[in-house]
Symmetry: C2
Subunit: 109 residues, 2 copies
Amino acid sequence: MTTEDTRVGDVLGALADPTRRRLLDLLVARGEATATALAGQLPVTRQAVVKHLAVLEAAGLVAGERVGREVRYSVRAPALDATARWMAGLAAQWDRRLQTIKRIAESGG
Amino acid sequence: MTTEDTRVGDVLGALADPTRRRLLDLLVARGEATATALAGQLPVTRQAVVKHLAVLEAAGLVAGERVGREVRYSVRAPALDATARWMAGLAAQWDRRLQTIKRIAESGG
DNA sequence: CCCATGTGCAACTCTGGGGTTGCAGATTGA
DNA sequence: TCAATCTGCAACCCCAGAGTTGCACATGGG
């Protein structure tokens, strides 16, 4: 039943959108950035970026810190790492399944 | 720029939907199953299942094989495995980034 | 203080896609 | 052959969410 953790669903949902993946790229490259600055690098408005950042933050992939009148966002690795491990585990499980089925098919005729 | 491979986007998009994740679970558990059989295990119609299977197949996560009048679907591990590796690599990259930033902050400030 | 700049909130549009229904086209078994 | 069963196609509904616009609210600098 693959530990259907809500976290995993949130991360996958967050990563499913190409704009959000680009945002993550930009954040990794810059280390830190505000929504306004990020919007300058993308073909969407600041408000759209803000919404995307909210989704990413809910998934634990980024975190925003208020500094004066601006909010600086930066990337958070653990949530992504956890999901990567979950997927790798799932892939391994599938592989075992496929091996078992193949073995049964070969021995059983 | 994190190898923005279309494949990765397809897999992430496919995995983002909870019904599709359940379908994969069912397929792993059963080894093989038809859309009709799978629909019997879910609170959706056969047609919905068919659409989901089409998405999963386009992402390379499942494959359908025609046997007589039915189509038997089964899971394919490689695409999932590749995406898992992509994510793990991304997580590692982020970690390195964060370490670098932290080091700079400590030495410089 | 006043203005520039950046964030926050709300209402709105519109497309994608998850889901359904209905029916036509295969295939098997009696 | 004929009925039962399964797949395939097409049209349709509906809503979540990606994106926009407009304006009000904070904050920092001159």
